[in-house]
């Protein structure tokens, strides 16, 4: 299936144009695709003999090239996600800083957060040392080779780990051994979705352990809060989760929530809610209202940045609903820390970064 993609890409004239700009890369491709994809050395010598235009029309030629582009694009996506907070997140953080009272520990915390965001970007290094669960969300067209894509994602994750964009963060649950490469059962976590577009979109979220640990799943009715099977019950358990989290999830945070589903689907959907932009509006009016109310009420709890006490406890809340069984009513809550590292790219036909999604 990967071949289909590249054939398609090769048929577009843009490939030839791009290729002719970078003759060195292209010329190496015939050797690479047929024999040893890892050998890059012969490329300089070959570059002198063959011109780009002659090579490009051959069907197999762009395979290795687009593959190399994809590796570079994925590595850049990981670097950027780890080091640079998206604009929508930065905006709400600066607003939160303005709200805090001067000369308080809350303001102090927000100022350090602001300085950290700037420094990480400048130094191109991880915003937070816990580079978290590496969660990829890939939207792809029909006829896409997930297996081949997964291998390239893994390769990029290893490279990003070697370069220090990702911490060695994957531990064998039975032996306690750290693979040192962020690869292993469940790591990285990759979610594929087919869409009706010809493009590939790759979103990445790095979700640290501190905030993952304060996530919660409630089963309604929930006796201790008298929370029933309705939106008011949902509201009660969400606020309870915010209170229980205190500052442990590196607040001020953002909630992704799923009402309904089974236990597994609920948690997956709650994380996918965190792919929404902070300034979007929920298309379901009752959920839009609940989202605003949760933020407003949580901020009245006064937990504040880092749990120091203060005005901002939550920066946002995103909720969706899945159908449920008559017997089940789950509310699944994923808490995202202020270091809300998510980014995404749309790839070009030759797998270069065409557009940033956040």
């Amino acid at each position: 299936m990967a071949k289909k993609m590249t054939k398609k890409a090769a048929s577009k004239k843009t490939v030839v144009k791009k290729v002719s700009k970078k003759p060195k890369k292209v010329v190496a491709t015939p050797k690479k695709t047929k024999a040893a994809p890892k050998k890059i050395a012969p490329k300089k010598a070959a570059a002198k003999k063959v011109t780009a235009k002659k090579v490009a029309p051959k069907k197999a030629a762009p395979t290795a090239n687009t593959q190399k582009n994809l590796e570079a694009s994925l590595l850049e996506l990981i670097r950027s996600t780890s080091a640079v907070l998206p604009d929508d997140v930065q905006k709400v953080i600066l607003e939160a800083l303005e709200r805090e009272e001067k000369n308080t520990t809350a303001e102090y915390a927000m100022n350090i957060i602001k300085a950290n965001i700037e420094l990480a970007k400048k130094k191109s290094q991880p915003l937070c040392q816990d580079t978290g669960t590496v969660l990829f969300y890939v939207n792809h067209p029909i006829g896409f080779d997930q297996g081949a894509f997964t291998k390239l994602i893994e390769k990029s994750v290893v490279k990003a780990t070697e370069m220090g964009y990702l911490r060695q963060n994957s531990v064998d649950s039975l032996t306690g051994e750290n693979s040192g490469m962020n690869i292993g059962p469940g790591h990285p976590s990759i979610h594929y979705h087919q869409h009706n577009k010809p493009t590939i979109e790759v979103r990445l979220m790095l979700k640290g352990g501190g905030c993952e640990n304060v996530g919660a799943q409630y089963s309604l009715p929930y006796g201790p809060l008298e929370a029933g099977r309705d939106l008011d019950g949902v509201r009660k358990v969400i606020l309870d989760a915010v209170h229980k989290a205190q500052g442990k999830g590196c607040g001020p945070g953002v909630l992704g929530i799923c009402i309904g589903g089974d236990r597994g689907a609920g948690y997956i959907e709650s994380k996918e809610q965190l792919l929404r932009k902070l300034d979007d509006k929920n298309a379901v009016p009752s959920l839009a209202e609940l989202e605003s109310e949760i933020v407003e009420t949580s901020n009245k709890l006064g937990i504040g940045p880092m749990g120091f006490g203060g005005k901002t406890t939550l920066l946002g809340c995103k909720i969706s609903a899945l159908n449920r069984l008559p017997a089940s009513f789950f509310v699944s809550i994923s808490y995202m820390c202020w270091a809300y590292r998510r980014q995404g790219v749309e790839l070009s036909g030759t797998n270069e970064i065409k557009k940033w999604l956040y």
Binding site: N116, C128, Q129, D130, G210, H243, G247, G304, M306, G307
Partner: protein, 191 residues
């Protein structure tokens, strides 16, 4: 802004109060889940922790392949509450003067702080770059078999910014905020 400078003493940390913003200069030893578990199992620490500070942190460390030298590229605090079962014991057995972490700790650690003259310093969670900038050098590493994030890294720091959220006099900002937010939650749930 207060300053606490190496060598640290129990007397100096007893002077600190909840809410104090402090700049630490001197030596820190990282130690998180696996280190605390191992100490709890009775293994003696590889360094003398008397009058030292333990930092709940799993840094991103790069090693120069040519020189073997380590550098810290990111080093924020990890959630401390996971060490709650062990922390007071470590205070008692090894004479530390404090711990740095995030999210605060519970009643057992607070009692330990009071009894053994320790404080809990809260660093800003997620601020890995600001905090890594305050690290001048990586002086040694111990128990690297636990994996890089879990090892004991001996760090020299200058003006490392923290907030005292649990002091040696039985006060905890975390207990206070938890109680006041519980009151607010009760009101919100009745609305």
């Amino acid at each position: 802004m207060k300053r606490l400078t190496y060598p640290f003493t129990h007397e100096a940390v007893r002077d600190l109060k909840v809410g104090d913003m402090v700049l630490l200069t001197g030596k820190l030893f990282t130690g998180r889940d696996a280190v605390h578990k191992r100490l709890h199992e009775g293994v003696k620490p590889p360094v003398d922790l008397n009058n030292q500070i333990i930092y709940h942190c799993g840094p991103v460390i790069l090693q120069d392949k040519a020189t073997g030298k380590y550098t810290v590229t990111a080093a924020g605090p990890t959630t401390s509450i996971r060490e709650e079962p062990y922390q007071a014991e470590v205070m008692k057995d090894y004479g530390i003067v404090g711990v740095i972490g995030k999210g605060g700790m519970g009643a057992k650690t607070l009692a330990g702080c009071k009894e053994y003259g320790c404080v809990y310093f809260h660093a800003i969670g997620g601020a890995a770059q600001v905090l890594a900038e305050k690290i001048d050098s990586v002086d040694a590493v111990h128990w690297l078999d636990l994996g890089s994030p879990e090892a004991i890294w001996e760090l020299s720091v200058t003006d490392f910014p923290v907030v005292v959220t649990m002091d040696a006099h039985g006060n905890s900002l975390h207990a206070k905020v938890e109680a006041s937010s519980a009151e607010e939650l009760k009101k919100a749930l009745q609305d």
